[in-house]
């Protein structure tokens, strides 16, 4: 009887095709990625049929959360040398007699998401690294007529970057009272053109039904 040869080694799986595939997927993801920004408030944007993409630069985004807080965000401009964000903050500091240090300005420049901190607390917010303290400081930008910091932010942004476009990112459940206030403040500052940020949805129109 012939001897049955037993395999001495455990079977070896050739992982090369898998690695190849992984490399391709990884390269694709790395090249196409635009990081999702971690916003301070979760916002479910309403859907629309609009197909216009959000502008990348020269935007001023107002984030209206479902619990009626206002957050604001700007971009640094299409050239990193422009440094719009620290300029806006300096301008804003001048109005409220606040002097921001170079590190604070740098921190503000790099800050990735929207900010909803009253300007007087901004120094504390930028100095700390503790996420819990930061979270506690984000009480939304005041928009009362006595302390209308949002109007000042809009004014400073427009004076630093005249070509800025206003974007509104609201939650579906944001009350209209707040939206109306924002629109009024914007109109006071001569901003009449808005981009409402929405997510895409398909719409069907039945033409035969209409023609009946």
């Amino acid at each position: 009887m012939p001897k049955i040869k037993l395999p001495t080694k455990s079977p070896h799986i050739d992982m090369t095709p898998m690695v190849d595939l992984f490399s391709v997927v990884l390269t694709f993801l790395m090249l196409t990625t635009t990081m999702t920004k971690n916003e301070p408030a979760t916002v479910v944007t309403p859907s629309s049929i609009s197909e216009k993409p959000t502008p990348d630069f020269n935007t001023m985004t107002l984030l209206l959360s479902s619990d009626d807080k206002v957050y604001i965000n700007f971009d640094n401009g299409n050239d990193t040398l422009l440094k719009f964000r620290p300029k806006i903050l300096t301008e804003m500091g001048k109005r409220y007699n606040l002097e921001f240090t170079a590190t604070e300005l740098r921190e503000f420049e790099k800050f990735p998401s929207s900010i909803g901190v009253p300007i007087l607390k901004m120094k504390d917010f930028l100095d700390t690294r503790d996420q819990k303290i930061r979270k506690a400081l984000e009480t939304g930008i005041p928009i009362d007529s006595t302390d209308n910091q949002l109007a000042d932010w809009i004014f400073c942004t427009r004076s630093v970057n005249p070509g800025v476009e206003a974007c509104i990112k609201g939650d579906q459940k944001t009350t209209f009272e707040l939206v109306q206030k924002i629109l009024d403040i914007m109109a006071d500052k001569n901003v009449f053109k808005f981009n409402l940020i929405t997510s895409l949805e398909g719409a069907k129109i039945n033409l035969a039904e209409i023609q009946k």
């Binding site: 070896h12 992982m15 090369t16 898998m18 690695v19 992984f22 490399s23 997927v25 990884l26 993801l29 790395m30 196409t32 990625t33 635009t34 990081m35 999702t36 944007t45 309403p46 859907s47 629309s48 049929i49 609009s50 197909e51 216009k52 993409p53 959000t54 502008p55 209206l64 974007c167 990112k169 609201g170 939650d171 579906q172 459940k173 944001t174 009350t175 209209f176 009272e177 939206v179 109306q180 629109l183 914007m186 109109a187 006071d188 009449f192 053109k193 808005f194 981009n195 409402l196 940020i197 929405t198 997510s199 895409l200 719409a203 069907k204 129109i205 033409l207 209409i210």
Partner: protein
């Protein structure tokens, strides 16, 4: 290197190599898996879209009169509470302030009670024109660039003088989603002229009557 030295110590026996050296790829695969997972979770694939809206300028100078529009073509849409829409045609005259007309009700659905039916009905001529134009441009042998199609459609819209002029107003209990939805309906139905205006006190009163909410509106004193 280490292995080679060890082998030499063992007696200098050299094994004839039968196979090509096998590299253990498991750690590399592990790392790649991690990276792929990370990128997949952080990537935002669908970029958010935007919808443009132009608001009428605020009249700061008391002398300038607001532009006049034809009452017969005007359609007032009021966003009410609980995702309801109320509408009335025309304008409410000063003598009717004590005897406000009832409001018609609609919702955001696409069925017979939806606002879309009403808008399409009123905007039929323009909507057909736009639709025919789109069909023709699809049939055409030369493909027109999308810019020129958009331009022609906006020309059709500005030339139109049959469609309604829609004034959108919002009651304070409405939400932002309703606002975006109604603007969306405007673009779906190809309404040429629409704008968002602040709500008047009589509009609020009518909505409160229609929705059965206790009135919070104070009637302004006549000057």
């Amino acid at each position: 290197m280490a292995e080679i030295i060890q082998e030499e110590k063992a007696g200098g026996k050299r094994k004839a190599k039968k196979h090509a050296p096998h590299i253990d790829m498991t750690p590399m695969v592990d790392l790649m898996c991690l990276l792929i997972t990370f990128f997949m979770l952080t990537t935002a694939f669908a970029k958010a879209k935007v919808m443009n809206i132009n608001l009428p300028e605020k009249i700061k100078d008391q002398k300038t009169e607001p532009p006049k529009i034809v009452a017969s073509r005007t359609l007032n849409i009021i966003l009410g509470p609980n995702n309801k829409i109320y509408y009335y045609p025309g304008v409410i005259k000063a003598e009717d302030y004590n005897n406000l007309p009832p409001l018609a009700e609609a919702d955001f659905s696409a069925n017979s009670n939806g606002i879309r039916q009403l808008l399409l009905e009123r905007n039929r001529t323009l909507f057909r024109k736009i639709d025919e134009f789109k069909k023709e441009s699809l049939k055409a042998k030369t493909i027109a660039p999308p810019d020129s199609i958009a331009k022609s459609i906006s020309k059709l819209k500005t030339d139109d003088d049959t469609g309604p002029i829609v004034l959108i107003k919002a009651y304070k209990k409405a939400n932002y989603g309703n606002f975006v939805d109604i603007l969306d309906e405007m673009s779906i139905c190809g309404i040429a002229r629409y704008t968002f205006v602040p709500i008047a006190w009589y509009d609020e009163k009518m909505v409160e009557t229609a929705a059965g909410i206790a009135s919070t509106v104070t009637t302004p004193v006549k000057k």
